[in-house]
Amino acid sequence: MKLIVRIFALTLVVTGAVASTHIANASQPALGARTSALPVPMCPPDDPNACGIADPSFTGR
């Protein structure tokens, strides 16, 4: 059990390290989002279509 927990924690660390390397090497600045299922509002607040917030399939982009 201890070994599984340890491996899981180390996997998280390694995955995070690989992901941060990808972010650093991305051609454009990587814009993340909060760890949540809520849609991420990426459009400016004065978007003429309100980013489609009224649509049932609103994703925030």
Partner: protein, 291 residues
């Protein structure tokens, strides 16, 4: 069930698990011990309480432009608050983990404050660029801050993982549980940012993965906070241990030093009261001799 329904379901599960985790903390009287975590959960619940009605009422009871503006600012403001609270959670975990070694704890705290301060300054500075709008600035600054916090979180998880035995902790302790949950969130955050930079069209799948990750993290926290943890073991270090030596050195580092006067000292260097004290002391010391 389409992806939109799954996202909706995950949103409700996330809100319910946040409330449950906070309830468990209150029931177990752990809010004072993990105050930043409680504040983090409270911020999430508040953000949900505002965002979810906005999303459902947009274009119906509330004008969609107003609803989107409110949603935008609530989302990014709560995200920024959560990122800052994340720093405080890491700080509190470090403090709790290092509690038996006060000297090293103090030294680490100093280093952490500097690292966090520099990281925040870099995050805000990197968000500046020519022709950047205020909305883009907010998004970039908050994202950068969160990514920095995620990297620090993973460093802390690695530290807790490696130092768990020397610190007298176990894998069932709350300190490890909280850092593991935070590690899940940090990894999801970093993978999400890397993912978005490559596959910018898979938002629904991204939201599902993100929603699942936060639910796992909160369930981990709730389980660790609900289950009683084993007592912390006594730390026994050999007298030659470098941990012990560094702890002693660190303990002495912050002390107010004593001062030694060197060279010729004349009476006019002292205050009249000091001269009077010395004169009386000299009289007392000379008293038996004078008799």
């Amino acid at each position: 069930m389409n992806s939109h329904n799954i996202v909706d379901l995950l949103t409700y599960i996330e809100l319910a698990s946040c409330v449950l985790a906070l309830g468990v903390m209150q029931y177990r009287r752990q809010i004072t011990q993990f105050k930043p975590l409680a504040l983090f959960l409270l911020t999430r619940i508040s953000s949900f309480a505002i965002s979810m009605p906005l999303l459902s009422m947009a274009g119906k009871q509330i004008n969609k432009h107003l609803a989107y503006q409110l949603y935008f600012y609530v989302y990014w403001a709560s995200y920024a608050i959560e990122a800052i609270l994340g720093f405080f959670i890491i700080y509190s975990i470090y403090n709790l983990a290092m509690a038996p070694l006060r000297g090293l704890q103090r030294l680490g705290r100093l280093m952490f404050r500097w690292a966090a301060g520099i990281a925040i300054a870099i995050a805000v500075t990197m968000a500046f660029s020519p022709h950047v709008t205020s909305a883009k600035f907010i998004i970039r600054a908050v994202t950068q801050l969160q990514q920095t916090q995620s990297v620090l979180t993973l460093c802390m998880l690695l530290f807790v993982c490696l130092a768990i035995r020397p610190m007298g902790l176990s894998y069932r302790s709350k300190i490890f549980g909280v850092s593991l949950g935070l590690g899940v969130m940090a990894t999801a955050e970093l993978v999400g940012a890397a993912w978005l930079s490559h596959f910018s069209s898979l938002y629904s799948l991204y939201n599902i993965v993100n929603g699942s990750a936060i639910c796992i993290a909160i369930v981990l926290w709730t389980s660790y906070l609900a289950i009683p943890e084993p007592r912390r073991r006594m730390i026994i270090l050999p007298t030659t241990s470098p941990f012990l030596r560094w702890n002693q050195i660190s303990l002495a580092l912050g002390d107010e030093p004593g001062y030694v006067a060197l060279g010729e000292i004349t009476p006019d260097m002292f205050a009249p009261a000091e001269v009077e004290v010395m004169r009386r002391a000299a009289l007392k010391m000379n008293y038996p001799v004078a008799n």
